[in-house]
Subunit: 202 residues, 2 copies
DNA sequence: GCACAATTCTGCACTGTGTGCAATGTTTGC
DNA sequence: GCAAACATTGCACACAGTGCAGAATTGTGC
């Protein structure tokens, strides 16, 4: 569901971004642990109670609302037949082109994750929606791949994608359109290490 | 530090296990969300405050305290020179032989993760200690592998290991000594998928 | 424009998590 | 058996998160 464009919905999205941005600003300034939901609400100009209408917890506000993969993309992924990894990252590439990525936002998240490494696992956990969606898609396209394997692969993919997005945010020159292929290259590098082919094509 | 065997330390370990077991019993009976730290404390025969002397939060009590990889194992892993994956899972195999795994405990965890899938990401996050240790070891042994790659690989390994332990707990017949090789096989299967070699050796 | 339906925002009361601190017990080394 | 080290506990407190009900706002049909 690619967000009906009623006034209400646009406002909702706007507020969600507002809250995330307030949270990030405060966390970068005062440290994640020092930020309370009350401070965020005040900074974002809403009541403390309303914060929880937008995000189920503090963590979630950090990551923000990321859109689901659209049905056109999932459809063509499911029905494709080429190499899985190629198709997977093509789908992610298309998905990224649909999403708005804000360099400054990602940079702030990056700063936080560097300053408070204990947040990193929590951060990846917040990407669960994407991971679960990917796992399901992989399972549907490639019936021969078991459930656990699909999940592991999806997890890895999300992880690599997050790494690629972080590199992109850090770099001044890397175009947004390179993110998916960056991630893909990392995954393939891992594949090579697993198969002990580290010194090939070096 | 392989746990000095003073009375104090043995008691500490015992209490930690006691708490975990209390938590699991209650969570299986009433559902994870319905269990409060106070209930756990009562069930385990300690004061509510003491609970937090053992575990930083409810999550952690679920997973329990798992011992670090001993220095003998890490030493020989770091200095080995063969294929990384082989060495990695050999080290894990030795590590598992040092640890006590309790089938019933794992089964209860398994039940919980099935009933409350929202716990799964949190669960993997709790294995962060192991993941971080593995990432560091990989980086030290194989200098050519970048930091991000080592982390991704470590994450995958931990994930696969958790899967293998869960299979072991479910099975009546699988010997404990097969866990590491199970995990290794999963990782290698993923490696093959990445490299689009799914139909080899089938 | 105007009523009224749907939705969203907010305040309030309440349960539960997690921490700091200081008093009180218990273990240990000597 | 004594003093230092460490563990347990109670208490007070700050904050997270939820349910509910009324106020405020926005969308809709006329």
């Amino acid at each position: 569901m690619p967000a009906r464009s009623t006034l209400r919905d646009r406002r909702r999205q706007q507020t969600a971004r507002e809250i995330q941005s307030a949270m990030l600003r405060l966390a970068v300034r005062d440290g994640y642990g020092a930020v309370t939901t009350e401070m965020i609400a005040t900074e974002a100009g809403i009541s403390p109670r309303t914060f929880f209408n937008y995000y189920p917890n503090k963590e979630a506000a950090l990551v923000g609302k990321s859109p689901e993969i659209g049905p056109d993309i999932t459809e063509s992924f499911r029905q494709g037949t080429g190499p899985l990894i190629k198709a997977l990252f093509e789908a992610l590439d298309r998905h990224l082109r649909d999403s708005y990525l804000n360099r400054d936002t990602i940079r702030m998240i990056d700063t936080l994750l560097e300053r408070s490494p204990e947040l990193v696992p929590q951060f990846y956990a917040s990407l669960q929606t994407l991971t679960a969606q990917l796992a399901e898609l992989i399972g549907q396209r490639q019936r021969a791949i078991g459930h656990h394997d699909a999940e592991l692969l999806a997890d890895m993919t999300t992880h690599a994608l997050a790494n690629a997005i972080r590199s992109w945010a850090q770099s001044e020159t890397m175009p947004e359109t390179d993110i998916a292929s960056h991630a893909r290259i990392q995954v393939e590098r891992i594949g090579a290490i697993i198969s002990d082919r580290q010194n090939e094509n070096a």
